[in-house]
Symmetry: C2
Subunit: 410 residues, 2 copies
Amino acid sequence: MKTLQPVEVVKQVNEGNILTPKGFKADGAHAGLRYEKKDVGVIYTETPASSAAVYTKNIVQAAPIAVTKDSISQEGKLHGIIVNSACANACTGEQGLKDAYEMRKLAAEKFGVSEHLFAVASTGVIGELLDMEKIANGIQALNPTTERVSAESFETAILTTDLVSKHCGYEAIIDGKKVSMGGAAKGSGMIHPNMATMLGFITTDAVIESTDLHAALREVTNDTFNQITVDGDCSTNDMVLVLANGEAGNEPLSSTHPEWPVFIEMLKQTAETLAKKIAKDGEGATKLIEVNVHGMKTKPEAQMMGKTIVGSNLVKTAAYGADANWGRIIAAMGRSGVTFNPREATIAFGDIVVLKDGEPVAFSEEDAKVYLEQDSFTINVYLKEGTESGTAWGCDLTYEYVKINGSYRS
Amino acid sequence: MKTLQPVEVVKQVNEGNILTPKGFKADGAHAGLRYEKKDVGVIYTETPASSAAVYTKNIVQAAPIAVTKDSISQEGKLHGIIVNSACANACTGEQGLKDAYEMRKLAAEKFGVSEHLFAVASTGVIGELLDMEKIANGIQALNPTTERVSAESFETAILTTDLVSKHCGYEAIIDGKKVSMGGAAKGSGMIHPNMATMLGFITTDAVIESTDLHAALREVTNDTFNQITVDGDCSTNDMVLVLANGEAGNEPLSSTHPEWPVFIEMLKQTAETLAKKIAKDGEGATKLIEVNVHGMKTKPEAQMMGKTIVGSNLVKTAAYGADANWGRIIAAMGRSGVTFNPREATIAFGDIVVLKDGEPVAFSEEDAKVYLEQDSFTINVYLKEGTESGTAWGCDLTYEYVKINGSYRS
């Protein structure tokens, strides 16, 4: 695949969000972990939702990850998730774990449900304890509704150094019923394969068991969230959570359901849209870079090469400068760990071919500059090792990234 | 080992350089590949030298690498090496390979020696052909001597975006004879494990066969040149070359020679000094970061973790901001691919412990800031997985890096 193409039966919902599917409510509030910005958010469904999540592969995992794993492990069901920004509650020892369980309890009490039916997520600075008094007050202040403004409140509350909130919505007909899906995400720094300071929340009213939902999520994550990189760093707190409350009334979805591919496609669209929004809004980024690698023996190889290219600081700074410096691309390909014949390599910025079968091609630097100055561009790599392709997304590396990260804590 | 400690018998030579050993000459000249700066350099020894080299592991290797491999493969001997900066002669196809052979021939003719007794190295922009007329004129202009000023000319001629020239010299007594060693290097961008746009040239008057020299070089490279990173990128042109002309008159060195460890130590000192100078002068860098990882099961694991930490953009930007953001260090450790128990992790900036057995420790942010504002500082990581240690070196990530690389070609 070049990029995921919308299957016709899956339709994007204009201004869709986590409240696009039936039965979900959300809100965000200001708990005071930050001076002004909302910093606590909730997604809630009265009908318990089948749940599935994927987590950071970092060996160091924050306390809320342990708590969410515990919740989902019990029944595979959730009423909702409570999230805070500003403090990651990571590397906070026993106290941090107690605090994460307490946060879950406070949310469950607020909504009158069992503790194990709530998930917890945190994002922000590592190594500082949560201010639990503020968290408690923030949770009390939450007042979830089904209105768009409530989704916006949630989307804002989960941001850290993100500049824009990230959301999308899709719908499809399954078993003659309208099934909807919505998503919200935050990203920015520490974004790299295998999840990063990335939180993704996907809601759907589809009927699906937790185990099938988990299978679908895993399948989709490898091609979407795990194919973005902002800075190569991978956080302690990453999580993508899907809640399926079943209110659409379709027949239970599983791999034997004839319309399973439609559901997978909808989940893919949602995940890819969120992932690309995260990449584009990487810390200090001014543009989205898409890398498509064609003609590899296997898809994972194509994906790995794509990630190496889009993760190269030299490619990223050249992108910032709109400099058609393809030498850095082939150098990144060569160190990607993937075997290929450089004499058969072709590289193009969009349609502008700069290297053809391993030999430099004369091209208009001016045209290339115009192309690379767009707020989104594509690098295409063609090899002759096989027929598999893979895509990765990232962003440019700018002064602003250095500024943001030179003194993030202050 | 924490860092390599000087063995007493190996002494640093004040202002030592590639001309510290007997019998070597050098020079640099202005061929006109750049406007003003010297851009062609030579090292020459009248007595043919046993030679050994290690090269980039990038699949894409520049033409001069092929030529140097060809030269050394023939007799394991060299009279010298001809180097140019400004143009890497990489990804230049058949013409590039012809040009690299022609460059070797021009140098050999100039000095009246066989072609295969000259090595070739290039560094600079990828994908552009060498201007052979300028190269020919530059080679003609070379006039190597044994004077310090000639070593300085060579050191200058090989630089690209480096700000300072890099050299060192050592001596030791072996078999009652004074054996000397000197080195010159260039680095700056695209510096990462497995060689990068890094050229290292080491001269010695030791008597040693080419195969033994190669074994020594390989042993030392893994702990030195391969443990530095500037930006995670790895070039198409990296090479470290050692020339041993035997003029010291010691008994031939090999692993059975009683003073073999002295020679290894001298080579290690030379390589480590050059490697650290490269890291410190990374593109846009303002400081050298040393990371020591202690208590790992194996040395390669300790080295890999060290490299991951010192290669993290988030650690690098925090270093720039003198921000004691240890959360980024443990996050990097967690994604390093090395297994460890985070609850036993201790992290210190120099002696300032910030995480002890997985729990945050109160520390003076002010003291930490003062420590991190130095032009060189150390991150110490202590684990309890085993008894092995490893060291890596890198630099901070600054506005200047982005500036340099946003428009390197223009």
